[in-house]
Symmetry: C2
Subunit: 409 residues, 2 copies
């Protein structure tokens, strides 16, 4: 059961001028499910991407990097679920290229103007002929209001689609930011999420798109973990069609730039948190904040150590305030000169640990009360500096084991 | 159910001249279980220790380091289960000192000649008065053949005691190496195991003991993982009483030194592997070897990435050859310039991946056959150098979640 997450109401997802989406059933892994999604982008759109740091990155990730570097202007995107096309060697690369060729032919653009994305089982051969066969129908289905269907079409073990929109005003024009994402397991993005696509009709200098994307990724998809496994296919793409009609934004350090940044970050954070809320087997949504660090890196390392610990995660599942496990995780986070005698730990408003030991006023029933909530904030203060970092995670339940023990069957 | 592990037959555990052990029920956490163990060491014994790298190390670990550094000669050891005395601040240190004072008084030695060890729940106050009350009975129970009872007396969530002995000949004398260990969860030692005690009656230069211990730890307790959680209390101690009667070993680089090293490593590896076999919820014992690396560190990092991955571990639990998960873990192990196109993967004798893609001759039923075994070897060849490393781990099952969700109740 996802934690405080509902399927997006289709009407709440606002079209983005210059972007159309089409979905079809291509029977890639199983018949009768939407598994092939295409995006059409208006001419002149700017596109930026960040991708997994996994050295075993999937074939489509390699081709995305190549096509973005080619700089010919991305005009179409193809996404399949059911097969990740990862761990597939040279043959996988050839098949990913074929899917770009096929969409390029249908869309009337060059293959290097197409970005391919795959998600699903690793190390199985991509049935590219099914993608080729399905693309004309997907392209024929293109609609400006296809976001809700597309959010569904990119799901794998997700139980709910993930999507969000925001609007803002720039130069008297309404600008829209809409995004979709998928992912529920193998989630510990190290650059981006499983798959995330955010589009806006804002007019932005193409050179600003990559830094904007990196910042948004860093504040959203790079702050979540479900199981600590960094996927082979993580990709996060930001598209700007420039069709809102305002004067182009030439710096992010302006009122317009900041407003756009805020909307892009808000949509990205909504999507990233939705992935955690729908984490495999999740019953709790947990925010881990580490403050009082010397720098942001050590705060993030400590927050991730807590968020990754199977012992911490099973304690949350059990609603058991076995909070020493949190201290242990902070202790092994790799902060070499950490002084345990300075550390404070709070569970929501409950002060659990003071100066490295149990707070004298801490009562087990207070910890218990917070642990029973569906949303919990863990706050650790290292008392050695002014930096802070937050990550989001979920608990580790029986269902996580069941889902991953049965995933392929 | 532990994987191919039986309780040690008491008669197979050989006494070590100069070491006696006593056990009692002190009621530390629960009544009616052996929870307090003491060691007596003959005068002139040399003792070395390695301890957790967790910055939140427990109070007894801090005192062990202090007492070993004092160099007055360790003569007695006290171990309690049921309470880790970690995350307990200054009060925890004072209580650990009191347990040393109490044993020193009973044993007629100085407090700095005592090493204290605790294991159990974190962040609860150590009931040191129960230790003080129990120590006279434990000391009165000292026996040279108390190893089997002591192995039982240091258990927490272990389902079976862990112990082993080896004998060798040095200078015409029989030398014995006997050890015990405990640990089943919060196991990802970064220096040593939860608790491991190995004793020998060999005569060894005191200066050789620490390098010998480090090497043994590095080849045993530092090569295992159950859940990736480095404990606050990990400790591994090597004791040499010198009572076997042979001429002292003055270099490890001699026939005698190598023979002793081999026996100490064998006992340590047996104990470390026993911890994995009895890992919380374990149903499989998995050996992960990464070879063909540029150096041992990158091989070990890749092996640990595989051994830690919840997705790999749940696949083993399910006997599902979803082997792409292994490639993904190798890919995110942090080897920056890894070339995925070179990688081979073997599951026992089955060649699964060649040059980064599925081996054309690989058949799913062959992978399935190996996955169903209780003991499995995963071998990854990076084909970029001559280094190799092996770690041992277990699968991730429903019982792991149950055990850790219920541990305190």
């Amino acid at each position: 059961m996802p934690v405080n997450l509902a399927a997006p109401v289709p009407e709440s997802l606002l079209p983005v001028a210059g972007v159309r989406l089409g979905v079809t059933m291509a029977g890639i892994r199983k018949a009768g499910r939407r598994d092939l999604v295409v995006f059409e982008l208006a001419e002149g759109s700017a596109v930026a991407g960040v991708f997994t740091q996994n050295r075993f990155c999937a074939a489509p990730v390699q081709i995305c990097r190549e096509h973005l570097a080619a700089g010919e202007g991305i005009r179409a995107i193809v996404v399949n679920t059911g097969n990740a096309n990862a761990g597939t060697g040279a043959d996988g690369l050839a098949r990913a290229r074929r899917s770009c060729d096929a969409l390029a032919a249908v869309a009337g653009v060059a293959p290097r103007q197409v970005l391919p994305f795959s998600t699903g089982v690793i190390m199985e051969t991509l049935p590219v002929e099914r993608i080729e066969a399905g693309l004309p129908a997907a392209w024929a289905a293109l609609r400006a209001d296809g976001w809700a269907e597309a959010a569904e079409g990119i799901m794998t073990t997700d139980t709910l689609p993930k999507a969000a929109s925001r609007q803002l005003q720039i130069g008297g024009r309404t600008v829209t930011v809409t995004g979709i994402a998928k992912g529920a397991g193998m989630i510990r993005p190290n650059m981006a999420t499983m798959l995330g696509f955010v589009a806006t009709d804002a007019a932005v200098d193409a050179a600003l798109l990559q830094p904007l994307l990196r910042e948004a990724a860093d504040l959203s998809f790079n702050r979540i973990t479900i199981d600590g496994d960094t996927s082979t296919n993580d990709s996060f793409v930001l598209m700007a069609t420039g069709q809102a009609g305002h004067a182009p934004i030439t710096t992010l350090d302006s009122a317009e730039g900041r407003a756009l940044r805020e909307a892009v970050v808000a949509v990205s954070q909504h999507l990233a948190q939705a992935i955690v809320r729908d984490g495999e087997g999740a019953t709790k949504f947990i925010t881990v904040t580490v403050q009082g660090g010397r720098d942001e890196a050590e705060c993030r390392a400590a927050a991730y150590a807590v968020a990754h610990s199977p012992l911490v995660k099973t304690a949350f599942f059990a609603s058991d305030p076995n909070l020493g496990r949190i201290l242990a995780a902070v202790g092994y986070a790799g902060i070499g000169d950490l002084d345990q005698g300075l550390i404070d730990l709070f569970l929501d408003d409950v002060h659990v640990v003071r100066e490295g030991g149990r707070h004298p006023g801490y009562r087990e029933e207070d910890g218990q009360r917070v642990m029973k909530q569906a949303e919990i904030t863990v706050r650790v203060d290292l008392h050695r500096g002014a930096a802070a970092a937050t990550v989001w995670t979920c608990d580790l339940s029986h269902d996580y084991v069941s889902i991953n023990a049965d995933y392929r069957s």
